[in-house]
Amino acid sequence: MNRPAQGVLLLLVGAAVLRAGTTDLYLRYVRTGLRPLLLGAGVVLIVAALTTFWYERRARHAAPHAHREPRVAWLLLLPMLVLLLLAPPALGSFSAARSGTALGAAPASDQPPLPEGDPVRLSMMDYASRAVYDNGRSLAGRHLTLSGFVLPGDGGTWYLTRMVITCCAADAQPIKVGLTGTVPGRLKANDWIQVTGSYATRKDRDPVNQEPIPYLSVESSTPIPAPARQYES
């Protein structure tokens, strides 16, 4: 790979990274906090590409550059083309079905009281850890709203699910909450819904890792479009 081709490659990588960082695209792959770093990296890559063209023009009359980069460098094109042209979606039910619910990472009991509101909107992680570690004490008598995508379980159960990430989608793990009560009909895997209901005492074990899955007793539900920020973190 000669110097001008390296310049084009860097320009493409920089443009792809900037495109992902300036839109909501990056949220499908990495945590929100990485955005400034992505933008900074994109700018550096584009400056590196421009300086390559600049020094190449100046060096045209000098001795030719013998050094070429190894072929493996071409592989850098692959993720950038996938990102720009295919933009694969955020991880959903396919990935969630293959991994166990990730409550093991949740902090210990002593949950603070729920915030005000009726119904009160909770993250899936918050609901699941209150339901499991606190046996639902802090949830008693309250109306709660959760949102996520649905995942079919054994015996016709539906799990409301959200992927939790720390750095990027490679470390994503699901949080699953079983739905009981007025579960909407005609669901299919990966549909996003918002449900309102109350704490249910029933608990299951995740078949993948035997961790507890709490339940929510659903009173009402509505289909919603998938949010830009699909992961909890």
């Binding site: 001008p4 990485l34 990296a41 980069e69 071409w74």
Partner: protein
């Protein structure tokens, strides 16, 4: 150059059939994880490449002669502790260690830095403390075990390493372009070079993550020796950034603390994408010897520290 343009035109023209061909959930899942590993690593790679270019162009070799003890056996632990100042994950430390070697730092010290930096910097230790709120000793164990393993590997290199194993691929010379020309030339070279190897590692990690079923982890969690080895191998396969691995370790709740420690000590030192990048920076002969040795020392170090502290 022409090949590149033809390829780009072809890919854009065939976008619709290509995206149809990759619409299966398993393939989409693979692509998302693949892009995620690359997107997560790239900013830190760029950071490391910038630092490496600063070292290569603006820091004179005499600085390292003064900063490090003259005796290599003492330079190893000093370089290991110095790893604490490089904030970020393992992708940043590979190009920096490469620049240190080219700048005349004794390879044993540069290798100790390479191994310790991603594991003992404050960001990673803070993340570990947050991930293990009930086991604060985990932070101390991680720091101690990682530093110990980094130093042991440095000393091992002093005793057993042979200079001809360490054969970095040839680098272009940037003479005649001035200091800034050399700076940007170094940045371009490192990004293109290490980036290609990063992609190889990310593809391997995404593939293995898709193939290895999560269910078998549960089956082996109760076996003491096997569980340590399984989590150590898992750390190599998953290639998770060192800022995130503590949370993944904490979620493997059926496993013993020592097994989780092994996961966090091995991961930042050797995994699939690191192996590819080390092979690209220091040569394949080096990586083929260094990676298995690192794995073995890291597992032993984690078990020893775990036995004392956990």
């Amino acid at each position: 150059m022409k090949k590149l343009l033809v390829l780009l035109v072809l890919v854009v023209a065939l976008q619709a059939p290509i995206s149809h061909a990759v619409s299966a959930p398993a393939v989409q899942n693979w692509m998302t994880v693949f892009i995620a590993v690359v997107a997560q690593a790239l900013p830190f790679l760029v950071l490391g490449v910038l630092l490496s270019a600063v070292i290569a162009v603006f820091v004179p070799p005499s600085f390292f002669v003064r900063a490090l003890p003259r005796r290599p056996a003492l330079a190893v632990p000093v370089a290991g502790v110095a790893g604490a100042v490089l904030p970020g994950c393992e992708c940043a430390s590979v190009p920096v260690a490469g620049a240190l070697v080219r700048r005349g730092v004794t390879p044993a010290a540069a290798l100790a830095f390479l191994l310790s930096a991603p594991a003992i910097n404050p960001i990673v230790l803070t993340a570990t403390a947050v991930a293990f709120p009930r086991d604060p000793r985990m932070v101390l164990a991680r720091f101690g075990a990682s530093l110990l393993v980094a130093c042991v590997m440095g000393w091992l290199w002093l005793r057993l390493g042979r200079p001809d194993w360490l054969r970095p691929p040839p680098r272009p010379s940037f003479e005649g372009d001035g200091r800034w020309g050399a700076f940007w030339g170094s940045v371009r070279h490192d990004v293109v070079h290490a980036g290609g190897f990063l992609v190889v590692g990310a593809m391997a990690a995404a593939t293995l993550k898709a193939v290895v079923p999560a269910g078998w982890l549960h089956a082996v969690a109760a076996l003491p020796v096997v569980s340590v080895l399984v989590l150590a191998v898992l750390a190599v396969i998953l290639s998770i950034c060192s800022e995130a691995d503590a949370f993944v370790a904490a979620s493997l709740s059926q496993f013993s603390l020592t097994a989780k420690l092994a996961f966090m000590v091995v991961g930042p030192m050797i995994d699939l994408k690191l192996f590819a990048m080390q092979a690209g920076t220091f040569g394949r002969r080096f990586a083929l010897r260094f990676a298995p040795a690192t794995f073995a020392v890291a597992v032993l170090g984690a078990v020893a520290v775990g036995a004392v502290l956990l």
